[in-house]
Symmetry: C2
Subunit: 485 residues, 2 copies
């Protein structure tokens, strides 16, 4: 205990009074994320002000055997950035590393601290007629470092890719406190193994990203939004292929929305009204965006016409102004709020091949409804990525105390159906703690060896974000995957 106190006192000397948070009430905001229901107890919260301070904190932790929890903007959904309840993990918050270091609009790159909030990076890019195209509900609070650690996705992946495709260079503090500086601003670089790929999506288990060079896109000068009513999921999938071709691959979003979500949205936001005269079983919220001289309005109208002629689209609302466009997007946002109001529910972020979506939705619905006839399925998602949020509201008849177990059972059934479709149990949220069991259950022995081997190579003591992705504790000691005969 005295040893720990001494360690923390020394951290305070290093970081200053504002640099180390030790009082429980001041630590409260570091132990809650978007999911809202997951808490922890940190040893303390370090708030280093720059890369050197991060490195020094990490070095001391590694020497002393103190576990570390790197933390960004608390918008994770798998408890990846929250400390354990045992009071032994030092939270290392990147929130004070929040400068845009440089922007080069000719090279289409921006160099930022890991603690920069995504929205601020987007605004900085706008100032130079560029865009940083990652787009998430949490963009007002999530940080670039967290986006990198989780390989964030979001709404515009079908056009711009996930975070992995938007990162050119990294600065990383390795688990022993050494800094790997690789802030290249090169669009093409093919020198040996691409080491930065290891850190992208590693959820803070291999090191702490402190800075990054990000790829910018041109800033669209125009966009158009449409909400369409469709008869079936198959029609949605057929329309997707048509839309990519008829809209010159200028799609920035193509969201599947079931009727139930439109209703939830209307419940949640009083000013929303049914978007079309009739109700349809499925909707698509789509957007096209462009720089330069194309007539997006005519493009969408032509798509709608062809879609209706082929009986894929039954009706549609085309926004003809930014206000109308915002109104259509309001459905997407309010439906999330409507879901939230229903209390505890199963959230998933699975993926399957795009072509398998109709059969998967049908089969999964059948299996889930057979097991729990009074539950409510809310399946929406990013069609172009094959990424569905196949969520489940528990039956109102299930007692609050039984809801978690009930939903867990349904999740297991859902994941078994997913296995038949060669799907992924996590298309964007990552593994963290909450998806660890189904993740490990599906890893082949070879994959388990590879994952453990990489972890052991970088973090042999298992101190960096322990218990996320892999179980806590020192990983299988770093050794070759192969026993030399």
């Amino acid at each position: 205990m005295t040893e720990t106190h001494t360690f923390l006192d020394q951290l305070t000397s290093l970081l200053g009074e504002h640099g180390l948070v030790r009082k429980p009430d001041a630590m409260a905001r570091y132990i809650r994320d978007w999911a809202g229901d997951t808490l922890g107890t940190p040893l303390a919260v370090a708030r280093p002000a720059n890369t050197e301070e991060v490195a020094e904190v990490v070095k001391r932790c590694y020497e002393q055997g103190i576990a570390m929890t790197p933390q960004g903007g608390h918008s994770g959904l798998v408890a990846g950035a929250l400390p354990d309840a045992n009071g032994q993990e030092l939270v290392i918050s990147l929130e004070r590393l929040n400068s845009v270091r440089a922007i080069d609009p000719v090279n289409f790159t921006i160099t930022v601290d890991a603690g920069c909030i995504l929205e601020n990076v987007k605004l900085a890019a706008f100032d130079h007629d560029c865009d940083f195209p990652l787009s998430l509900g949490a963009q007002g609070s999530c940080q670039i470092g967290g986006n990198i650690a989780t390989n964030a996705g979001g709404l515009n992946v079908l056009r711009y890719g996930m975070m992995r495709e938007l990162v050119l260079g990294l600065e990383v503090v390795l688990p022993d406190g050494r800094v790997w500086e690789s802030l290249n601003a090169l669009h093409k670089d093919n020198r040996g193994y691409d080491l930065q790929q290891l850190f992208l999506g590693s959820e803070g288990t291999l090191g702490i990203v402190t800075g990054a060079v990000l790829k910018l896109a041109t800033r669209p000068t125009q966009n158009r939004t449409a909400l369409l009513g469709l008869p079936s999921v198959q029609a949605v999938i057929d329309l997707y292929g048509l839309a990519r071709r008829e809209c010159c691959d200028l799609l920035t979003a193509f969201e599947l929305i079931p009727r139930r979500c439109i209703e939830l949205a209307i419940e949640a936001t009083s000013e929303l009204r049914d978007p079309m005269e009739d109700a349809y079983p499925w909707y698509v919220l789509m957007e096209v965006a462009a720089t330069g001289p194309v007539d997006l309005g005519s493009m969408l109208e032509a798509l709608l016409e062809t879609g209706m002629a082929r009986e894929l689209v039954l009706d549609g609302a085309l926004a003809s102004s930014d206000t109308q466009s915002a109104q259509l997007w309001q459905f997407r946002e309010s439906m999330l709020e409507g879901q939230r109001r229903r209390g505890e529910h199963l959230r998933t972020d699975i993926s399957v091949p795009i072509s398998a979506i109709p059969d998967f939705v049908a089969r999964a619905s059948e299996v889930v409804m057979a097991a729990s006839p009074a539950c409510e399925i809310i399946a929406y998602g990013h069609v172009g990525d094959g990424n569905l949020h196949f969520n489940i509201l528990p039956p109102t008849t299930v007692a609050d105390s039984d809801k978690k177990a009930h939903l867990h059972d349904l999740e297991e059934l859902l994941f078994e159906v997913l296995d038949d479709f060669h799907g992924s149990i996590s298309a964007e949220h990552g593994i963290g703690r909450t998806k660890q069991a189904p993740y490990l259950a599906r890893l082949s022995p070879i994959e388990r060896e590879m994952v453990s081997g990489v972890k052991a190579l970088f973090d042999p003591k298992g101190l960096m974000n322990p218990g996320r992705i892999l179980p806590a504790g020192p990983p299988q000691q770093a050794k070759a995957m192969i026993n030399i005969p």
Copy 2:
């Protein structure tokens, strides 16, 4: 010797008479690549017919301590896929694994054997109104496995990314002969570490890719090509930003070409004539392509007009038919032939930030010309990727026997300038053997540890494509990068 004979006899039993090539004259075609000047002496050439045979060959090699050289379509430029001269490496050619396994145009994916020739994959995609957009000079002979091992780039990277961005799933034979099957066809998958990234660009040093799921694009229904004359490299860079915006990011190519290359092209192909009335110091060969209703012709004309008004463009030739477009592309192809005819020369494939291209070209030219006033610089490349082929023809006065050393000295000078611009010595060709020395010289100690650690994790005996990227011999034994205090 007898042991080796027994081993090879057993391989013949396994693979059949056509499956193992042992006669020197029959092996000749496996020891030459595009560079043409690099030869080797294999122990033998194994031609397995499927993944299981590859796995069995690899397993036996690993048990017996036989070094392996995985080999694709012989289009490498860094001697990465050629055996050593010592007669001890077994070449494992993937040429018989050449089936398209499946195509799913709704999911925009194709599943192929690693030995499929790129052109055939493109043709298979065309049949389904899709495109596999990787585009290389060598596409008629290079194989998908080689494209993956080298993270191939090419002409369309600015629109579609490098091979890394086009691969969704892999099947890999690991160095001990176990098969890692991860042929996911998921556009989004965020389960823990992305292990396939390790194999992409690892140049066959971590395992042999035998199959892959590739991402398809829509097939463009129209394209337009233009060849423009410009006053300076700065004008080329300024035009690039303008072109991306004015052409809706529908650019598929934006190639920098110096006047000298136009002359070389005309020399090499008698039917080519100067493309414009006057000669200009720099040219841009650009192409836009689209599916759907956009007027690419007007788009290019408007760009040309704006470019001329801003004095970025001095003159331009717009192709108005496929034939004219092919004629413009003929300059790009013939200039390579023209270079080849000049005999031995320095080939590089460096990259710098796009914004640094003008200063880099000026500074590098100055340094090279100061050191060798009679040499000839031919710098062309893919502007949108910051990727230049800054090539050098040696002075005609240098004796043939001295040319290699002379060019080597110039390369070292060039790379030193490149270091000042934070550039890469290999933007697309990879490291192989020929770029190993300058690569290793520029690796930081941390990077060397990481690269060696990854190699040791997968291939502790150092038998898989030895001497490429890292020096031959067992890698530093697999152990944690960090010494546990």
